[in-house]
Amino acid sequence: MVAELIRVSLLGGLLATDRAAGWNLMLSQPLVGACLAGALVNPGPEWELWALRVPIAVGAILQLLLTDVALPAAHRPRDTATAGIVGASVALLGLPRLHPSLAVSAGGILWVVIGVAAGLLSAVLGGWFARLHRTGPLTVARADALAEAGDLAAFERLTWGGLVRAFLVGAAWAWGGTILFLWAALSFLPRFSSALTARRAGVLFATLLGAAAVMAFHAHVRGRRHGTRWAALGALVTVFVIRGLGGVKP
């Protein structure tokens, strides 16, 4: 598990830098983070089927839930960059360890729900942790002094230091958050093993899906010019395409 945690940690650092330093290449989107975590964390050959399916589902639901059209400055400080990584990693690392006491299949839905819950809680706690990356007045004063003195090399080092700090804070949280939520899952979930039935897992999953759909509507249609018309057109075209291809009935 140590090797997996190191990989998760490095991935968390990379994604936190993407979000915090201004790369904004969208590596920090939950779907991307969860899928990359799924590719890096291997729970073992007997879990191969779920090792990739669970992270995609965790990432997709977190992506829909956490997409918000408010500008970044209007957001609460939540760490949505590492949420996908922590959620997917907790689900995958917990899967083989919890399976003896929570032998619920239901298409892996329970693990998806556990991953999404871990990701959401990780976003809250990670947001507080990410405050360690904040640039304070002392750094600003130091930058002023270095510019005044014409010490450009030291000014550049100050910026590189900010990048390294963003990476380290993200890496530390991805590592610590995964351990924290994995420990919580391993400690508490077996106590509820009799209550965690496939049907209840389905109810949790369906509720998350309903919320995700509405939040996606809020992000993509509401407030858009002719948004409802275009959404209806998209739905109609998809219905015709699915029927034309003879696929699943919508």
């Binding site: 201004g22 969208m26 089927l49 750094t139 930058a143 550049e156 509720t207 759909a213």
Partner: protein
């Protein structure tokens, strides 16, 4: 290149624009990152340590723009610095005013395009890919784990990356024609098109998600049990709808509220 600045300097500045928020802070916003990004250009324009330091001091003041479009401001500011170094009467205030005017306009045009429309759309297309591609047969590798994030990354960066790659050079070339520069970027027009694509994609997503819902597998198959799945879907939708209206900009809290409501319902079922 009309002045002393070379293409390599512009490329270096463009690469440094990627780190423009490394020292983001409420007092200066992207000011320190802006100074870091423009530094290779200042080093080329000014020869002495004192001149470079004074120029850097000018550029680490407050500035707030869209990170994807910051390169245009860096390029335009470098051109003004170059004219000043050549002896033209360009004051500190003129450089600051030009920078701020361009930066705030780019922020006003860039935020709706990149944050409000393109970023959600890129994520949604990744999710739609998951719904469109069939799961692989047992034993076969699941390429969706690579294709879904790849489509998200490609969608966003296909639009954003050209602005980042050529922003500094364009800003430098068109520093004297900011209005023409802004018009040539077509930010508002692209946003209008992508808004429609985004709404269209949501319609497609709803149909695809509905077609994939395997209610029978969750509930055991009977009509009464299947109806039990509709209740949590509706509950989630209601919590989501109320939450996004009440807690704008707090999607994590809304999602956690939905999860809490789901736990109550699950305990009751």
């Amino acid at each position: 290149m009309s002045g002393s600045i070379r293409r390599g300097d512009l490329a270096r500045a463009a690469s440094r624009c990627l780190h423009i928020q490394a020292l983001l802070n409420p007092e200066r916003m992207q000011g320190l990152g802006f100074g870091f990004a423009i530094l290779p250009l200042l080093k080329r324009i000014y020869a002495t340590r004192e001149e470079r330091g004074a120029a850097l001091r000018r550029h680490i003041a407050y500035i707030a723009t869209h990170p994807v479009l910051a390169g245009f401001v860096v390029g335009a500011a470098a051109r003004l610095e170059e004219r000043r170094a050549a002896g033209e009467p360009v004051s500190d205030a003129a450089i600051d005013t030009a920078k701020r005017a361009l930066a705030s306009t780019l922020a006003a045009l860039g935020d709706p395009l990149f944050w409000v429309t393109l970023r959600p759309l890129a994520g949604l297309l990744g999710v739609i890919t998951l719904l469109v591609l069939p799961p692989p047969d047992t034993g076969s590798p699941d390429f969706r784990v690579l294709l879904c994030p790849m489509l998200t990354l490609l969608t966003y960066n296909a639009v954003a990356l050209p602005y980042r790659l050529f922003g500094v050079a364009r800003g430098y070339a068109d520093a004297e024609r900011p209005a023409a520069l802004l018009r040539s970027l077509h930010l508002a027009e692209r946003n209008a098109v992508l808004e429609r694509v985004s709404a269209f994609a949501f319609g497609a997503f709803l149909v695809l998600a509905g077609s994939k819902l395997d209610i029978g597998a969750v509930t055991g198959g009977s009509a009464t049990q299947s109806a039990l799945v509709v209740a949590p879907l509706l509950l989630g939708a209601i919590v989501g709808a109320v939450g996004v209206r009440a807690w704008s900009g707090r999607p994590v809290e809304v999602a956690l509220a939905a999860l809490a409501a789901a736990c109550v319902l699950a305990a009751w079922v």
